[in-house]
Symmetry: C3
Subunit: 395 residues, 3 copies
């Protein structure tokens, strides 16, 4: 038991020096939704807080408490998922005691999570079996629904960079459910109860059927960030502060998103990333690695405009304009006038710029305006009117 902060520090040092201990990449405690028919099936994990390469003191306390509670804590595996228990909570509270009085607002959130768990009213209908302690020790392919969710949280809270995590096989760890509000429902349960539900007027109003929930079911946006329709952003997407997602044709898939304030009225497919100050116009498509690109995830630079109904299957630099309705795929042949070559060379020192280039040749080329000449139908590139901030390191 820790009575002072110094004693807490000593306790943590003791735990961390033990041979079994290993600092986790990420951890948190989730409330889980379990199957209506199959109670062992985890349909969703909701984390009030996640830790990612941080708060190792709390990690030590939680791991130690799991051991005290008799759980098999094997930190040599890539992940650990345990149920909570009274012993676990008691051990945590004893360790966190010096921090409990000041665990409010933004302070000591892991302590708040433990305190809240310990004080949930008995009549809430929730039991210890509805919670999981989740640790990730190695960024391997996730082996549990809970670990997938922890990684999706890491992406969506911005604690892990887009494309930085191993999500191999994640789809296979999630179950396809009917979602009614925040509640996932097994399709089998619906089938088993369809007749009674429909005849009694109690058939649920299903919002969607998918393996993933939506971002807004789990993540609170920054004050200047907006999603005008929740279905438009999947859990696992990342929206930098200041991003606005409109409800027309927009969609942002998991492991995709924005790095700064971006106006999104089009599609940002899985693995695609858009830089600060850019604009994804109405109905514009940024292709994902599975559909129409050459397999390289598409990055859109900063301060770039993808016009309405344009389509991009290859990287676009900073300060570019893609005219409305224009499509640039990796293999698209693009013609440049001598003047365009000269102007683009001037702001892209060291880059190969020539009179005929393919779409994929524009990787890292800034300040390009892609157009179709409406007199000839030719796809052309010229110097855009957008500002490009030259990289000082290159000059």
């Amino acid at each position: 038991m820790a009575y002072t902060k110094d004693e807490f520090k000593q306790l943590v040092d003791d735990i961390q020096s033990q041979s079994w201990y290993k600092n986790p990449i990420g951890f948190g405690i989730a409330r889980v939704d379990r199957g209506q028919l199959n109670k062992d099936k985890i349909l969703q994990a909701t984390f009030p807080l996640i830790n990612w390469n941080e708060n190792f003191g709390s990690a030590a306390v939680l791991l130690n408490a799991l051991k005290v509670a008799g759980e098999n804590v094997d930190t040599s595996k890539s992940e650990l998922v345990c149920k909570i228990s009274d012993e676990f909570l008691t051990s945590c509270i004893e360790a966190f005691r010096p921090f409990i009085p000041e665990a409010k607002g933004e302070a000591h959130k892991n302590v708040q999570v433990i305190s809240t768990l310990a004080s949930l009213p008995i009549d809430s209908g929730l039991s210890a079996d509805d919670y999981r302690v989740v640790f990730i020790f190695e960024d391997a392919a996730p082996e549990s629904t809970e670990a997938v969710y922890l990684k999706l949280y890491a992406l969506s809270t911005g604690k892990a960079a887009l494309r930085s995590l191993n999500l191999n096989g994640a789809f296979g760890k999630l179950h396809n459910c009917a979602w009614v509000g925040n509640q996932p429902i097994e399709l089998d349960w619906l089938r088993a109860n369809e007749i009674v539900l429909k005849l009694s007027g109690k058939y649920p109003n299903i919002d969607f059927v998918d393996k993933f929930p939506r971002l807004l079911q789990h993540v609170i946006l920054a004050d200047n960030t907006r999603i005008l329709e929740t279905s438009k952003v999947r859990m696992g997407a990342q929206l930098a502060a200041g991003t606005t997602v409109m409800p027309g044709a927009a969609y942002i898939n998991f492991n995709a998103g924005t790095l700064g304030a971006v106006m999104v009225e089009g599609r940002i497919s899985s693995s695609a990333v858009v830089g600060a100050g850019s604009d994804v116009g109405g109905g514009a498509s940024i292709l994902g690695v599975l559909s129409g690109t050459d397999g390289v995830p598409v990055t859109i630079g900063e301060n770039t405009l993808l016009g309405a109904n344009s389509c991009t299957g290859t990287a676009i630099g900073d300060g570019c304009i893609l005219d409305a309705g224009v499509t640039i795929l990796p293999g698209t042949k693009i013609t440049l006038s001598d003047k365009a070559v000269e102007q683009l060379k001037a702001i892209n020192p060291g880059k190969e710029i020539s009179n005929v280039m393919k779409g994929s040749d524009f990787q890292g080329v800034n300040g390009v305006h892609f157009r179709v000449n409406s007199s000839t139908g030719q796809t052309i590139a010229m110097r855009s009117t957008r500002e490009v901030k030259l990289n000082a390191d290159l000059h």
Copy 2:
């Protein structure tokens, strides 16, 4: 009353041999939502089960029970809609008695419907007037809201093929309502109560205003089928197992859909059908007969890719690719090189292939890659890289 299954069979034979009897095309029992102001207005019919060219024994029992209950059962009309009554339910239960013990899970679903109706608690707020027995004897233009719903169910459950049913005038049989969850509300009722509802903070949260509900309000998807946002698929659409509908720009209208596993990120307009293994890219449009086609419903073959933001107003074959952003309308003039003509002839024996073709000439032509030459703006066709399975019957 039937005490054994043999007696049941005899009872059914007796009914079916009567002069008034006729096997129905489809039938079922629905719970109906009636108008808030006009109780005789049927706003929605929810079927826990529909029968389509099947279960004629149950049909005989139900029709006979309606006669016993004093209903005017005229099988010479194209459809029959009756209220239920105690007499009707009693007659059905007496006939179904041998099957009641085993009517569970997937077995004897019509019996389950009758048993459930007979056992609904009195305090459910529902009365006999909230249910309808619906029969369709002939595929004529529907004459009632209930018959329209029965046909929409036949399409959406896959029991009837897309485009196979007479839906003439269906729109006129449905009422435009405000939908709050699964509850349709008359717009007049909202107007009559607007002041009280708004001032008291009880104005309902309206999901949509339409004549049709959404597919997910009535149909349970297969385990490998996904609709990431309920508004994207209208009741009356048909999704084959394995289909995924994304929430960006996708939409599937009634009497349209997929014949196998299809990724849908674009629009499948009413009457359009997409074959197994195909991909409707982000923002792609498959036009309906009312907008931009030559009046022929558009069919997309199997294993075909419609690129992002492409547009199709005419039939496309198997194993085709429509590049992102390319539009093919029936009258679009498309140029083929001599090599393309030769290669497409090789896999399309017997088809007319020439150096200049119109979009509508490609009906039934497989393995085509439609592109716009970005140097000349010319719309061209060539042999696609997609696999085409040659029809063995033609060789």
Copy 3:
């Protein structure tokens, strides 16, 4: 107190003749949603009724009642927002007394609002502080959330013409909230309660995060008007009767909309207006003044078809066709044959029509079919097959 309608008229005359009095442009009484943490923050204003250049008798009664109740009624300001009080309601009821018996249905709606307010049950949880009397005396930049809402209502109910109101700075008067049904929630409140809400399974299901609500949260559509998904139309948009908004890629922003029956399957950006009988095809984009136009709000004429995935950044006349996938921006160079010039001159007397025109030159030109020649890639214009009603005044 007014005992007869004549006395009411006399009372109104008396008020209107007082020096402080001024007829308002618009007024109404709203129920307001206040912040969960900051009770003085107005998150939403819901008007059961608005008055716009009408019902000045009621305006006089309300303004007088505010003075009687001790409010500072300064009609020299552009707007006035006051709380209600028992004194205010009593004064209104005394004045409206002759009309109370007949204030039902469509009659005397302002009287109904006052009567309803006076009779709200004490246990509704609502207090006088949850209501506001709102007046606009001058169409200046709005200074309060309530005034912004009153103007949005004026637009969305069709009482004020699109683009006719001063909305400068309106965004700044609205707060970005998480919307759960019709309830706006402060993001800060969510943050402060995230741990408890998530662990107890009570985290709300958020529909969207935005400053604006959706049209259907405030406005009841005409019987023949449909919005197939509520997120598709923002509050402040205007839909003329007969308009249908589909759920695919459609979106109608505030201060934008339709002037007659229009089929909307694409985007109508803020400030864009579409004429009666026109069709905005699937995924079509009508650009707003902030993205891709030359700053002139785009007007689409009557009986015009914008094909699927087309894009318009400049005004289009009546009876025009924009082919699927075609983009017309203000600077797009468009080629016309001699025949096209002749035919378009014939139905556009007095207009400049020539062999090469820019997109913006087609302002007010009717009967144009915009296409891309699929053999040459050239953007061309010709006489459309759509009917154009010649303006009789010009002949």
